[in-house]
Amino acid sequence: MSKLATYRRSPIALIVLLFLGLTFTGTAYAALQPTAPADAYSASNASEDVDDVEEGRKLFLANCASCHGKNAEGNGTAGPSLAGVGAAAVDFQVGTGRMPLAAPGVQAPANPNQVNFSQQEIDQLAAFVASLGPGPDVPDEEYTDLENADIANGGMIFRTNCAMCHNSSAQGGALTRGKFAPDLMGVEPSHMYSAMLTGPQSMPVFNDATITPQEKENVIAFIVNIEEGGNSFGGHDLGSIGPAGDAVFIWTIGIGLLIGAAVWLGRKAA
């Protein structure tokens, strides 16, 4: 029996573990900073600028036309027509790195590390697409700053309209045939707003008549509250995926600890 093994089975090891547990919780005590509001950009009047439309057309021809067609008229299964999708759709799809898409498909995963356009370029692209036909504009900052938002009302709307796909803790969920509704943690409020307004990919549209701008802001505030730990009280959340996480934990670490104790108890002391 090696020396180390002897010590490992000693009760001291357990006490040390216990103390480690107690101390790290004490020392690692740091208040969570609320994340800064979404970076402000003045995109609301971008579509009015003729130069922006022209710059946007160039960008479009270089980056998007292969799938969406030279005049964004659509190209069969490769890409839909963009007439009438509005600046909000561009801001969401390009701003989250979903577009340009590597290969055509119904699921366009967010790719925050692959946003290859500056905000100005995105605005120019948006201006061009907005010029093709009337469509939803990028959200007014009034509704994305989350001031005066009613979290409880947002929660009610979220549970009726969003939770069935995105999960009640906004952790995402599965759709048919490999598609999925993404996790909403860390998504910019303006992008969430645009997504509701434009219905990207599989997601339905929630226009301003069915969910008013104020209600949209409430929903976003509800999601941001979860992200900032508004639901975190009782310890590690195990991924917030409900009983599946609990089951995995109790069948591995939970029962593992107790079987470890049982083996220790049943062994003859050295």
């Binding site: 929660g155 009726t160 599965a174 995926i241 104790a261």
Partner: protein, 587 residues
């Protein structure tokens, strides 16, 4: 009657401190309170109980994990009842959890939020209760597996096996009832599904749901009814049966693993006082402490995140707690085309097979197993020595196959979680699991049975040829060989103590009578014969002393010059095959 085994006395003489039993206890007196109690109740007569012996093995503590979790649930559950309001009456929440302020909900949900946020330490008690409940069922599941795979259910313990089976079923129902009480979005969805599968029952379905729910879904009676079942009815039956379960363990005396000195006619272990009291009592605190540790740092069932139940709402990733997964998974796998209407009535086997039939069926099969096995073996003896799982290959393989079947159903319940975590298609997962349900058990059966037989062969190998000592010897001729060390008799006994069960065709005599006429066999008896063949046809007999003697001869032969050694070796190997590895092919 207890005795101190030989050999221990010598140690005791050397070290008085450790095993002192006599020095200052030469003239022990009962403490006054015990005398007081004895005068009224005669308790001193029962003190012999403290000398009861319990064998020591970690796997015997799995049942204790379940027992202690139950006690933790009883303690924490009682606390929860002080604040929980089992009512579906509508209230507007006005507690301290901001994201639900002003939202309409049931009193049950509101009081659960109150326990979580406004009662000091309430969240800890809630999480303790729920984690202990999960641990209770994990403990039961592992305990059942231990009892099954070691054959501890054999005579005379069949009754206790059946009681345990009922206990495990009640535990699952108790868990489901408790999970449903907070009336949050997730548990309400579970009740909705329960309502749905109850109404699929042929003939009585609608009546069943209207009686259980007091009318249409959701009504306002199901929570109060589940509450009284959860806090009174089921716990009373659970605790009652559990007391019988434990009493029978005392009555039969605990089983033990085979080993030197352990026989079918004794129990070897430690006395209840003081060793087992300290160990079992200490283990209660360990289980409680570990549960508290988990409840402190890992959240469970954050009902506030799900929101109050609303029949028009649902959340992605709706699963019950794990012990109901197999049933929910069956509901996901059974295809819709099974439903049909005939003569103006609707049959929905895709619903009732996965729920109303499957739930009882699993426990009926479980409860019946000891009687089926006993019928097949015809073995009416008492068994107090456990089987090593490898020594009962077919039982072990059947158990493993059944578990694999259960797991396929259970995994089907988290098909949506798997789909999103592994970026797979939920449809593909579902179809694959439908196929696996039928194929996996067959594969598992074959693999596990082969594995058991191989392990038994390895045991034989070890007994016959000993362990490799690492010492290389050189013969005068210049040949090298490694010295094998024979096992000592205590280590060897573990590997040779068992009996290989034989099929009825061998034990019950020939199939023909003395005139060569085939004995007539009824269909039931013929099935029994077939099952017996299935169970015991492939078996490996333990090494006998004469085989070992032959092998020793072989061992000496290793040092002999080439040709001679090989010849002896081959002859011994042939003997091995004929003696040990029997596969009776009589087709």
């Amino acid at each position: 009657m207890t005795t101190i085994p030989q050999g221990a006395g010598a140690v005791r003489d050397q070290s008085e401190a450790a095993t002192e039993t006599t020095a200052d206890a030469a003239d022990p007196k009962l403490p006054p309170p015990v005398v007081w109690a004895d005068e009224r109740l005669g308790v001193a007569k029962g003190f012999g109980l403290f000398k009861k012996v319990f064998p020591d093995h970690w796997s015997f503590l799995l049942g204790e994990i379940a027992m202690y979790s139950l006690i933790i649930c009883l303690i924490t559950g009682t606390f929860l009842t002080f604040w929980f309001v089992p009512s579906m009456g509508h209230v507007i929440y006005d507690g301290s959890f901001v994201p639900l302020k002003g939202v309409g909900m049931s009193e049950a949900y509101a009081s659960t939020l109150n326990i979580s946020f406004d009662i000091k330490g309430g969240l800890l008690i809630r999480q303790l209760h729920h984690w202990a409940a999960l641990l209770f069922i994990v403990g039961i599941a592992l305990h059942v597996a231990r009892v099954f795979f070691t054959g501890a259910f054999r005579k005379p313990r069949e009754i206790n096996w059946v009681i345990g089976t009922v206990l495990s079923l009640l535990a699952c129902i108790e868990g489901f009832a408790g999970y449903s009480l907070p009336d949050d979005l997730l548990s309400g969805t579970g009740i909705r599904a329960m309502n749905g599968f109850m109404s699929s029952a042929p003939v009585i379905g609608t009546y069943l749901t209207f009686f259980v729910f007091g009318g249409q879904f959701p009504g306002e009676l199901i929570i109060p009814r589940l509450y009284i079942a959860h806090v009174l009815l089921l716990p009373a039956i659970l605790v009652g049966l559990f007391a019988v379960h434990i009493f029978l363990v005392f009555w039969h005396k605990h089983t033990q693993y085979p080993g030197p000195g352990r026989t079918n006619n004794n129990v070897v272990g430690f006395p209840l006082l003081p060793v087992y009291t300290a160990k079992a009592g200490g283990f209660f605190f360990i289980v409680f402490g570990v549960t508290a540790l988990i409840a402190a740092v890992v959240t469970i069932n954050p009902v506030w995140a799900y929101g109050p139940y609303d029949p028009g709402q649902v959340t992605a990733g709706s699963q019950p707690d794990f012990y109901m997964w197999f049933s929910d998974g069956a509901l996901r796998l059974l295809p819709g085309w099974m439903e049909f209407s005939i003569f103006g009535v609707t049959f929905s086997p895709q619903i009732f097979l996965g729920s109303l039939v499957l739930l009882p069926l699993v426990w009926i099969i479980l409860g019946a197993y000891p009687f089926v096995e006993q019928w097949i073996t015809g073995d009416k003896r008492e068994h107090h020595l456990l089987d090593r799982p490898r020594n009962a290959p077919v039982r072990t393989a059947v158990g493993a196959a059944a578990i694999s079947m259960y797991l396929v159903l259970a995994v089907a319940t988290i098909n949506d979680i798997i789909a999103i975590k592994l970026h797979l298609s939920i449809n593909d997962i579902t179809v694959a699991l439908r196929v696996l349900f039928f194929i996996l058990p067959v594969i598992v059966f074959m693999v596990v049975k082969r594995l058991c037989l191989s392990l038994q062969r390895a045991d034989r190998e070890l007994v016959l040829h000993g362990t490799e000592s690492g010492r290389i010897m050189r013969t005068p001729e210049g040949r090298f060989y490694e010295v094998h060390e024979e096992l000592n008799e205590f280590d060897r006994w573990h590997l040779v103590q068992h009996e290989a069960q034989r099929p009825l065709s061998l034990t019950a005599g020939p199939d023909t009578d003395e005139y060569g006429v085939e004995r007539p066999v009824g269909p039931l008896e013929s099935m029994r014969r077939k099952l017996s063949e299935f169970y015991f046809k492939d078996r490996i007999e333990p090494v006998t002393p004469s085989e070992l003697a032959a092998a020793h001869h072989h061992g000496e032969a290793e040092a002999l010059p080439g040709g001679q050694a090989r010849a002896i070796k081959e002859s011994v190997e042939r003997a091995d095959e004929t003696a040990g590895l029997r596969s009776d092919d009589r087709t």
